[in-house]
Every structure is written in structure tokens, then in C-alpha cells.
Amino acid sequence: MIQVNNLTKQYAGVKVLDIENFTINKGESFGLVGNNGAGKTTFFRLILDLIRASSGTVLINYEAVNKSISWKMITGSYLDQRFLIDYLTPEEYFEFLSNVHGLSKGDLEKFYSDFATFFNDEILGKKKYIRDLSKGNQQKVGIAAALMTKPELLILDEPFNGLDPSTQIRLKNILNEKKNDPNVTVLVSSHDLKHVTDVCGRIAVLDKGRIIHDITTSKDTLVELENYFAV
């Protein structure tokens, strides 16, 4: 699904990301952990072609992300609040997205009913702009927007941040569903090791821009990760 070749990103001469060869296969649920400044968000931004790589390429379905846009058709993503158009109401935002992605009115209705529990009556029909929602509810809008198109590739940066406990559990259920779907590839980053081990089949540890561990999740993984970060 995703191939990374000799990818680096430098700021002011300092390498903040340096990944030689790395592949994420179709259907995998991939988790990325690392301390602040390890390069998680930078990596995601490079995959989404939001920043220009200093060298190397990212391929999605064998096409370089900075050359073609066909990957955008199958990708759903939410990195941070800047993805939201905050002066729209959630409904207006979803309507816009459904239009951009070529979804029908019926699809949109289906989406609303599918996500009714996830939204928990706090998002739709409130006549509030996204900017007036709480941080957690903004996060919900962003995550739902990423899931809306039923993407083959889902990329979420710290999706659990700021969510209330119920929503965290709901999101975990959604991600677990995706994990068992062989057609969906998921990339998630998190600071919460427990969350990642719960929802990801494969976990990589990023440190100072390099991938230093690449583990298939087993029941020992959580302890292994905790030991690593305990230093």
C-alpha cells in the first residue's frame, strides 16, 4: 500500500526524519509511537504530501504522492484542527466533503446514521460553527470526516487526544473493525501505548526521525514498549 524509499526531511540542516526503506502492506493496521519531536507528524505529513521531502519518495499504490493525486481518492485523513474549515457548521463541512469526494445524498444520510452514536448528539443539528465546538468535539468532526468516504487508507494523528472515555472506546471499536478488514489499511499514531497495542497489528517506534523498532503486536508488546519508553 505504502512504500517509502530513502525518505528524509531536513529543517535548517537538521534531519528530522530519515527512513530508508519501509513498506506498509495492504490491510495492515499500523501504529506509530514515539516521544515528542520524534517525527511522527512529519512522517504523516510527508505521506499526505503536505510538506516537501528533502529527498526520497513516498508511494501509495506505486504512485508517488507528490506526482499524482489518485491516492487522494482512496485516502481519509485527519492530522490536526487545521484540516477543519472552522467557520462552517459540521453539516456544511460534511456536505462539502461529500461533494468533493463525489458521494451521493444517500451516502451522506447513511453516514449520519452510521455515526449517530459516535457523535452522541453533540455534533449534528447544534447550529454551531466548528470553531465554537469544544476541542474534543472538533476532533470528533475531523475523525468522522476522515472515515466518511470509507477510505482504503486511513491516516489519523493522535486520534485519541482530547476525546472523552466513551468516544475513545467507540473509536477503538471502529479501528478494530478496520483492523479485521483486509481491504483497509490504517495508520495511527498515539502517545498512549495501550491504545496503540489495542488497535494495531504492527507497531513501529520512531526516535529522532528513525524507525528503531518494528514489531508485530503480540500480548507481550505492551510490556516491551513500556520498558523501552521507561528509560
Binding site: 529543517y11 535548517a12 540542516g13 505529513r45 499526505l48 504530501d49 503536505l50 510538506i51 516537501r52 493525486i69 487522494k72 481518492m73 485516502t75 485523513s77 492530522l79 487545521r82 484540516f83 477543519l84 474549515i85 467557520y87 462552517l88 456544511e92 462539502f96 466533503l97 461533494n99 468533493v100 469526494h101 460553527y129 470553531r131
Partner: protein, 492 residues
């Protein structure tokens, strides 16, 4: 059509911003002013043939008119440079979606086409083309002439937006371009070359050879592409701010400021704020344009009779930069305004610091305008008195107005697609501050006491300076009253 969505979103953004909702009164005034302007232009257009015949009874009106077109384009460039705000789009919300990048760029590059400024001159040009050119030549010629003119207006439009965009990116380019313009004006003034002859010739050729319309077409496409390429190469949001390795400047350890204690520290903080953000720094680079403003008015014999006009020029030159600073001094700090409210123990001193910095800026500008004494001691008197008015009176008015600012300014955001510069509404809201001294002056002028009037304006400033403690206390009180609203707006 993705463009339809962009337009809809921007319309909603504007309508839903708290600034717009608050400023309905200002918008109505703006609408009225534009309406009056439209009316004037329409009348001018309808009677343009009679006016030209009256002014130049023996001349060929087409030739005369063609002769002023180059000046007009120059004038339009300057007007647009100061008045026209750049089209923006919050691209980060769209980049991850399946939207072609070129569509995003085309939208931002082409949006300036909708600015009303592009169409104002049509009110004069269309009647002129059909009332004067068509009878003298042919309707075809009139259409070609009009089309060339319109194309050139759009060229100026795209070119100005390009220059304005470069202002943030590479101020030196703008500087060089400004110098070339000034050189042209001076050469024309001293009769070395004649812009009017060149203008007559250029448009005369178009009247004779219709195929020359290709030239404006090429120009408009080129100027559009300049914008397109510029934006296209800056689509990655992170690059605009951190392209080069930033050397740490030594602003933090200016010795003199250290001896001033807390006040010095606050000044040094503001200096760093201005110098370390592209948007604020670009305003510093705009200073020469403010200072050179006088060159277009003082030597021009046409303005000699309009003495009150010079007051306007003087205020603008010695106070333009200060105005910019004071107007935005609180919004600049919107990212950490809560921090200021929580941590600064002596907020009155905070205001005083801003005042000191503001009048220092004005003083620097004033010193730089001293060479205008070359155009006469009269001019020197105007600059001096307006300077005193600026630092002693206008500055406090501006602070008072600044406490009403509620708009968050995210200085750390890349400026290419988010440029929030000064637009027409900004200048219009400042108009009363510029007009007041002119109003004060008019009765003196009427009675023949020009110098007396100027001295009175200066005295107003001196009085303000004498009571500066009281004035600052007053601004401080107002600031404390408004601080919650400000903080709320800045958090948005």
C-alpha cells in the same frame, strides 16, 4: 466545480467572522463611499468629451487622453498597492482532499479579478471610447482601444498582487521596482524623457494597428502566470516560514535597552516580534514607500494650490509607520495575549512601552523626512507640525481605537496564502484621524494665516505630549475595560 465551493466558503467565512458582524456600520459607510465614487466617475465619463474640449480647446482629445494613460496606470499601481488586499485561502483545509493543486492555485491567483477596483475605470473609459474615439475613428477601433485598456488594467491588477506577494517573500525585489518607478517619475519631472509622449505613441499605435492588441493580451497572461508560478511553488505550508536556516539575531542583547529595566525588556520583545515575523518585517521594508510619498506631491506644481493636501501627506509620511504599529500592536500579540494578562503585573507600563515605541518609530520617520526641506521651509514646517500632531495626539487616538481590535493575527502562519495586510477598509477607518487636522487648518487658511494654522496643529500635539501621563492612564483604563473582549477575540 470546486471554485463554487471555495467562493461559498469564503463568503461564509467573511459573513460569519465576528469582525464583519461588528463592523456593519463601517461596511455601510464603505458602501456609501463606493457609491459616491461610482457616481462621480459616471458623471466624469458622461461629460468627458465636454471636459476635455473645455480644458484643451485646440488639442486633439484622443491624443491628450492617450497621453495621460501611462500616468494613470502608475497611479493605479500605487493606489492598489496600498488599498487592495490580497486574495487568500486557508489551503491547509483543502490540501489533503482530492482537489487538484492547480485548481487551488488558479483560484487564489485569479480571484483578484473580482475586485471592484478593476471595474471602476470602465465607467469613464466606456463612454470615452464610444463618444470620442468611435466618431473620430470607427466603432471597431473604439472596441480595440477599450479592450487594450481593460487588458492593461487587469495586467496592473495581477502585477500589483504579484509585487505585494513578493513584498513578504523578497522585499528587495519590491525595493528595486520602487526605485525604478521613482527614477521614471524623476526623469519625467526633469524632462529627460516624456512618459506622456510614450503613452500617446503607444496608444496611438493601437488606434492605427488593431493587431497590436496581442501585446496587452500577452502582458495579461504573463502577469497572471507570475502569480500562478509564485503560488504554485509555495503550496507546501511549512516552507514559507522555515526555508532558510535562521540565524539567531542579536536583538535580544541590545545593551541600551537592558539599562531601561522592564520597559527596555518589553521594547526589546516587541522589536523581536517585528523582526522575526515575515509579515511584520515586510512592513518595515515598506517604510521607504511611505517616506517617498512626498516626492509625488511636493514637487508637483499642480498641487501647490492645494496646501491642505500637504497636511495629509505630512501626516502620512511621518505617521504612517506609527499608525501601522499602534493599530496592530495588540493583535500582533494575540497568540499569547492571555499570557500577557496573566503575567504582566504592570499593564500601564505595558501600554507606556508601546507608546514609547510608537513615537520612536514616528520620530525616525520624521528625521528621514528632513531632506524635504529642499522643497522649501514651508514643507519642513508642515512635516514638523504634523509630526508633533502625530506623536502627541494621533498616537493616543490610535491606541484608543486599537483597544477595539478583536481579530486574531496568526503571525507564525506562512503568509503566502494568509496575508492579512492593510486593505481599503483599514485606511478608510483611519480617515477621520487624517482629516481632523485638515479641518482644523481650513478656517486658518481661509483667513490667510497658513503658518498660524500649522502651528496650532503642532500645538495640539505638544499639549498631548505635556499631558502624556494622563493620556496613557486614560488609554490604560480603556484597555482594562476592553481586555476581556480582546482576549476572547484573539483566542478565536
Amino acid at each position: 466545480m470546486i471554485y463554487k465551493w471555495f467562493l461559498l466558503h469564503q463568503w461564509r467565512e467573511m459573513k460569519r467572522s465576528s469582525i464583519w458582524q461588528r463592523n456593519i456600520a463601517l461596511n455601510i459607510v464603505l458602501g456609501l463611499l463606493i457609491g459616491i465614487m461610482l457616481l462621480y466617475l459616471l458623471v466624469l465619463g458622461l461629460f468627458i468629451d465636454k471636459i476635455l474640449a473645455e480644458l484643451y480647446p485646440d488639442g486633439d482629445p484622443v491624443k491628450i487622453f492617450n497621453g495621460i494613460l501611462f500616468y494613470y496606470f502608475g497611479f493605479e499601481f500605487f493606489l492598489r498597492f496600498f488599498m487592495q488586499s490580497l486574495p487568500t485561502l486557508n489551503i491547509e483545509s483543502y490540501l489533503h482532499l482530492p482537489i487538484k493543486k492547480s485548481s487551488i492555485v488558479h483560484y487564489v491567483a485569479a480571484k483578484s479579478v473580482f475586485m471592484i477596483g478593476n471595474y471602476l475605470s470602465w465607467l469613464v473609459m466606456v463612454p470615452f471610447a464610444f463618444k470620442v474615439i468611435a466618431p473620430a475613428y470607427s466603432t471597431n477601433t473604439a472596441v480595440v482601444w477599450l479592450a487594450s485598456f481593460v487588458l492593461l488594467v487587469f495586467t496592473i491588477n495581477f502585477f500589483t498582487t504579484y509585487v505585494k506577494r513578493q513584498l513578504v517573500n523578497k522585499p528587495s525585489i519590491v525595493g528595486v521596482f520602487g526605485l525604478v518607478l521613482i527614477a521614471l517619475v524623476l526623469l519625467d519631472y526633469f524632462g529627460v524623457l516624456s512618459l506622456s509622449a510614450a503613452s500617446t505613441f503607444a496608444f496611438g499605435q493601437i488606434l492605427l494597428h488593431h493587431e497590436l492588441i496581442v501585446l496587452p493580451i500577452v502582458l495579461v497572461i504573463l502577469s497572471y502566470l507570475l502569480n500562478y508560478w509564485f503560488l504554485k511553488s509555495r503550496l507546501y505550508p511549512d516552507e514559507v516560514t522555515v526555508k532558510k536556516k535562521q540565524k539567531q539575531d542579536s536583538l535580544a542583547d541590545i545593551k541600551y535597552l537592558k539599562t531601561l529595566g522592564l520597559t527596555g525588556q518589553l521594547i526589546s520583545l516587541d522589536l523581536r516580534l517585528i523582526w522575526r515575523h515575515k509579515r511584520t518585517r515586510s512592513i518595515v521594508f515598506m517604510a521607504p514607500l511611505f517616506l517617498l510619498y512626498g516626492l509625488f506631491f511636493y514637487p508637483n506644481p499642480a498641487y501647490q494650490k492645494m496646501y491642505p493636501m500637504f497636511i495629509f501627506v505630512g501626516i502620512f509620511m511621518t505617521g504612517g509607520m506609527m499608525l501601522n504599529y499602534i493599530n496592530y500592536c495588540f493583535s500582533y500579540e494575540s497568540n499569547y495575549f492571555d499570557n500577557i494578562l496573566v503575567n504582566y503585573k504592570d499593564l500601564e507600563r505595558y501600554i507606556r512601552t508601546k507608546y514609547i515605541l510608537g513615537i520612536s518609530i514616528a520620530t525616525a520617520c520624521y528625521i528621514l523626512t528632513i531632506p524635504y526641506i529642499f522643497f522649501g521651509t514651508d514643507i519642513f514646517l508642515i512635516n514638523t507640525m504634523t509630526y508633533l500632531y502625530n506623536i502627541g495626539f494621533l498616537s493616543f487616538v490610535l491606541f484608543y481605537v486599537a483597544t477595539f481590535s478583536k481579530k486574531r493575527m496568526d503571525l507564525s502562519k506562512g503568509a503566502t496564502f494568509n496575508y492579512q495586510g492593510m486593505g481599503a477598509s483599514h485606511w478608510l477607518s483611519m480617515l477621520p484621524a487624517f482629516l481632523l487636522p485638515v479641518l482644523i487648518f481650513l478656517p486658518f487658511n481661509f483667513m490667510g494665516y497658513k503658518t498660524g494654522g500649522m502651528l496650532f496643529i503642532g500645538a495640539l500635539g505638544v499639549a498631548g505630549l505635556l499631558f502624556s501621563r494622563l493620556m496613557i492612564a486614560f488609554v490604560y483604563k480603556q484597555f482594562m475595560k476592553r481586555r476581556y473582549e480582546m482576549a476572547e477575540g484573539f483566542r478565536e
